[in-house]
Structures are given as C-alpha cells and as structure tokens.
Amino acid sequence: MKQEFPEGEINAISGRSLVITGDDIDTDRIIPARFLKCVSFSALGEQVFADDRKELKGNHPFDLEQHQGSNILVVNDNFGCGSSREHAPQALMRWGIRLIIGESFAEIFFGNCLALGIPCMTSSKQEITKLQYLVNENSNQIWDFNLKELSISNQKESFKLNLEGGAYKMLYTGRWDATSQLLDEEEKINNTVKNLPYLNNFK
C-alpha cells in the first residue's frame, strides 16, 4: 500500500496515539546505525526501534496489535538526541507517525521532523505524564490535534501544547519545506558571497 506523507498546511491531525516512555531516547535507539546502510529511506518504517523491539519480543508499543495504525507519538524529555540522522524521523514517519508530543526535543531532531512536516509539540512533564496515562488507559480513543489552538483533545480532556513561532508559521502556512523559499533569493545569496572575505581571496 502506498503511504501518503505530509503535504501542504499541517493544521489538524487526528488519530490514535501511542506512548514511548523514557528521557534521552537517542536516534541510535530510534533507528540503529546498521539500518543506515541504504541509499533510499523507503525500508526504514519496518526498522524503527528495531533493537528495543527485539528485546521486548513483541511487547514493544510499536509491535502491539492495538497500536497498529496509530499516528501520534507521546514521548518524554530530550527525545531524539544524538546523531543528526534524518533516518530517525523518516523511520517514524514511514511507520505511520505524523505528530510527536513530548517534554522536549533535541534540536537537530526537531528540525529534521519539521522538514518532513511532522510537528514536535511540547508540554510540561506533569501534563505529558497525564496524557501518557490517558493514552495508555484506552488505546482506541481518537485524539484531535489542532495547530491553531495549540491543543490536543479527546472527548473529555484537552491539553495545551507549545511550539515556537517560526515552526508554527511554517506548518500553518504549509511552507515547512524550505527549499523553494531558499531558492527565491538568488541575488541576495550572490550578494552575501561577495561580502565573505574567504570567498574573495581575503581582499
């Protein structure tokens, strides 16, 4: 089945959620280095969290029957630290994740997700713990994420989320894929080049 990846404005995401608990979950955990031996990202979805899943022998959240088809991931602190490998958000996206909510994210991981149209929203430790509890209590419930309202809610509860202004605007306007914007400014790029001593024989 051909997957559809994020496109255009990312204003609302609805679906079931799943939880990965633990601080400092690094990108080596999300996608071990041996799976980086590829010239295309296409196979990464099946390999996400490969070693953790193997260790838990079918009991990892990404393997449990009730979480298949979930698209919202709720994590803890400093998620995605370590390597800059975009393979990590690619693997999550190709498994089906479209939104990540956590206490905080490593910077490069956050940027890599944004470049794929996957919002990384934050909230306090207390709120995340509560959200994780509710998600685990009933994995069937549908959660509605609303970017404009910076919130995620089920039928009873609503959680306020945070996102810095730049990323918010990029997602809201659908201009999170930066390439076209960067290419718009050919003349300004050339002007910058003219002012850099090391590209002009240090004159």
Binding site: G82, E86, G165, I189
Partner: protein
C-alpha cells in the same frame, strides 16, 4: 541577547535574509558530505530537477561504512559498496571534489577537512553529521544537519536556521598531567547535562582552553553536541594560525596576511555579551569515564558508580536503566571494571596527538590477555604520519591491531562491532545502548590514553599510574 561574540559576527556576515517564519536564511561557506546522509539528498535534488548551486563549496569523503581491514574495491559488503559507488557517481555528476579511498586525503570527515585546511575561522560549516560541531575549534560556526537540509544546501548553499543563544564556558587553570581535552569535555557534559546546551552555541574560553592544541580543541567542540549544543566554538588565536599555515587549502602569500588580520577581528570582543556564562576550574578535573548510557553519565576515575536513589529525582530513572543495561553495581568504584574490547579512533579522538599520547602508555607493554584492542587512525594522513613516527609499531608490538582509517566502531556501520554483552573502553563519543554494533553491547567513554591503560591492565585504570 548575545552581542559582539564570534558567533554574532560570523552569523551576521552569513545572513542572506530574514525568512517569513522568523528564521534566518544563512549562507553555508563550507559544506561537507559523506556517503550516509547524502544519497537521499541527491535523489531529492534530481526529483526536483535542481542543480548544485556552488559545487566548489561542497567537499566529499567516505568514512562511515568503510571497512578497516581490507579496503580493496569492491567492498565485500555489497551495501557499503553501493553507498560508496552512489557517492562517487553523485560527485562526478555534480562536479564535487571527492576525497576517496586511495586519494591520500580520505578520512573521517571531521578529521580530514581540518587537516587539509578546508576548515577556517569565520566560516559557516554544515554537514549531515551531528559531530560537525568539531570545526568550531577554528572559530567557525559549524553544525550538523539532516538530509533534507543537505538537499537545501546543495540547491541553495543556504539553510533556514534559528539564531542560537550563546553560553560562554570559561575554564580556568591548567589540566593536570594525564588529564586531556576528552576528560574536560566529559566533565562539562556531566556538569551541564546532555540537554543543557539545547538552544545554545557553546563558546569555550579561558586559560585551560587556550592551552590546548588544535587537536584538543577539536575534541572539545566535537562533543558539544553530546551536551545538547548543536554548535561549539573557540576563538581563533596563534595556535589556530600556526596549525593552518601551509595546509593545502590555507591561504598563501598576501592572502595569508590578510586572512590573519580578518581572523583576529572575529574573536569575541572583551565587551561581548553572552546569554549565559559558566566558569570552572580545569586544574581540579580528573580523568573521566562514563559508566552509563548517555555521555552525561560520567564520573572521575576516583569515584564510585552513583547510587540512582541518591541522585536528583530527574536523573534517577535513566540511572536505574543505565545500571541495569551496563550490569554495573551502584556504589562500586569505576576503576577496576573489567573490559573486553579497546577502541582508539573516531572523529573525537582519532588524530595524531591522540594516537601519540596513547602510544606513550603502550610503549614497552603488552595488551592484557583476552583483550581485543585496535587503533583506527582518523584519516589517511594521520595513518601516514603515525607510521613515519613509528607509532604503528609501538601499538603492533604491544598486541594492538592497526587498521585503515574510517569511523569504525564508533558507530559500527562497518564490520567492526562489539559482540553480545561485550564491554568496551572507547575513545569515541557515544555510549548509547547498542551504539557499537551489538544490540546489548556496552561502552565506556574515555580519553585515548585511558583506553590504552585499560588495554594494558584489562580493566579501567587511572592512566596516571602508568605515566612515568
């Protein structure tokens, strides 16, 4: 908000434009690529029918997947061969200079670029690798990027970036004998935590930093990212200029004089403002070793493995996980921990001075029986110079293996891997679960000299006991 720091000056010079979302379009002066994070970027470029805008500002090498025993082509691993062949083809198609196997200039990207003089003060440097922060040692703004951003740099030589805050980390005093740059950075990460640097660039300054060689400075900046700081830098000074003089891509003649003049003007001003400042005493730092599963879980060689119950609340869970995963007992001394494998190499500590310092410990001694110990020079140049100095022989005579250059067991994308529950003493930069190629393998990070000491004694050792 910071002002008149090196970071501010270099940032301002490279600003192309403020983007509507509030980020800045930042020009990238030097773009480094390798085989792991570039193939999908080239594919995306082709799909969008885009050209590489400034091919001469991108430089390529191959490092992550290269075997270190036999580098004959084709590689015995067909996937590794495919990645290298793809990079070669992309470089040829787009007119990008490639430093390949057999070129005499191939190596770990963060080792080979500085030693060619490609990395210079005042540049912005980007590469699809988080350890790009290494290049900040020269007074450059250097940071790791993802593959979508590699595509953006190829297409536009620029990136959409948010300006970081600047924290100055001032280190007083002098490092003791037997204490190296690696110990200092492990100590800093321990103090500030693995996410302490998120949102910051780290300026490393002060007497203990100024005293370091360029190679030591690269070790420090290399691991800024392990403290959460995407970018770390050191103001350029005479040590920087001396290192750069005569390098292949360094300016020459009149240009050299002009360059020095400009480079000197880039250092943070004495009136510079920082968003945050931290001061510590370098002379009190001891050889430092990680015991856990994040680079922030380091302790001095004289300390005991912490008892998770006695740690601050927010560190308890990960400390418990670490004790369980590492199979190390709380309250036991780290010194004397038995090890199986010793690895000297990586973009953190695979440079000539690293091998030299380690060889001093090894000289005239033998690797403890049952220990597998190997040295992987960071580049072909490092390997050649080490051989000229007879360093390879010192290691070989002691029972180490001497390999060909590459990233090797830092992340084990090549055949060099831990097996099963093996525990390594490693001069690399990450002790994450499964990092060194075995899903339950274990890693203790330390300086190359400490790795050498561990190899000789078969257990974690205070290197100072082996220094005459």
């Amino acid at each position: 908000m910071s002002s008149r720091t090196l970071y501010d000056k270099v940032w301002n010079l490279h600003q192309v434009k403020e983007l509507p979302g509030g980020s800045t379009q930042l020009f990238v002066g030097l773009h480094l690529i390798h085989e792991v994070t570039s193939p999908q970027a080239f594919s995306a470029l082709n799909e969008k029918n885009l050209e590489v805008k400034f091919p001469h500002l991108t430089v390529a090498t191959v490092d992550h997947i290269v075997p270190t025993l036999n580098q004959q082509r084709p590689f015995s691993d067909p996937l590794a061969e495919e990645m290298l062949a793809t990079l070669e083809k992309n470089c040829t198609t787009h007119g990008i200079k490639f430093h390949g196997i057999g070129s005499n200039s191939q190596g770990v990207v963060h080792v080979m670029a500085p030693e060619l003089g490609l990395t210079q003060p005042g540049m912005t440097v980007a590469c699809g690798d988080s350890h790009t922060s290494t290049h900040g040692a020269f007074g450059a703004i250097a940071f790791g990027i993802g593959t979508s951003q590699v595509r953006d740099v190829l297409a536009s030589q620029s990136l959409a970036m948010k300006k970081l805050k600047v924290r100055r980390i001032w280190v007083d005093g002098s490092l003791q004998k037997g204490v190296y740059a690696k110990d200092l950075i492990l100590h800093i990460i321990r103090l500030l935590g693995v996410k302490g640097g998120v949102g910051f660039a780290y300026e490393f300054a002060g007497p203990a930093i100024e005293e370091l060689s360029m190679e030591g400075r690269m070790t420090i900046c290399n691991m800024a990212i392990e403290g959460g700081a995407r970018c770390g830098y050191i103001n350029p000074d005479e040590t920087t200029f001396e290192y750069l003089q005569g390098k292949e891509y360094s300016p020459k003649g009149q240009e050299w004089d002009n360059a020095i003049h400009w480079w000197k003007s880039l250092a943070s001003d004495s009136e510079a403002k920082f968003d945050d400042e931290i001061q510590l005493d370098g002379s009190s730092i001891e050889p430092t070793v990680t015991w856990g599963i994040t680079p922030g879980q380091g302790i001095s060689i004289k300390e005991r493995i912490p008892n998770p119950e006695k740690l601050p609340k927010n560190e308890q869970q990960i400390a418990k996980d670490a004790c369980k995963y590492m199979n190390l007992e709380a309250d036991q001394p780290i010194e004397g921990t038995s090890i199986d494998v010793c690895f000297i190499g990586s973009c953190t500590n695979g440079r000539l001075s690293d091998l030299q310092e380690a060889s001093k410990i090894v000289k005239g001694r033998k690797v403890s029986s049952g220990i597998r110990a190997f040295v992987v020079p960071g580049s072909q140049k490092v390997a050649k110079e080490a051989k000229q100095k007879g360093i390879d022989k010192i290691f070989l005579n002691a029972g180490f293996e001497w390999r060909e250059p590459g990233c090797s067991m830092c992340l084990a994308m090549n055949p060099d891997k831990l097996e099963g529950r093996q525990i390594s003493a490693s001069s690399s930069n990450r002790n994450f679960k499964g990092r060194q190629g075995s899903a339950n393998g274990r890693t203790l990070l330390m300086s190359p000299a400490m790795v050498a000491a561990a190899a000789i004694n078969g257990k974690v050792t205070d290197v100072r006991k082996l220094i005459q």
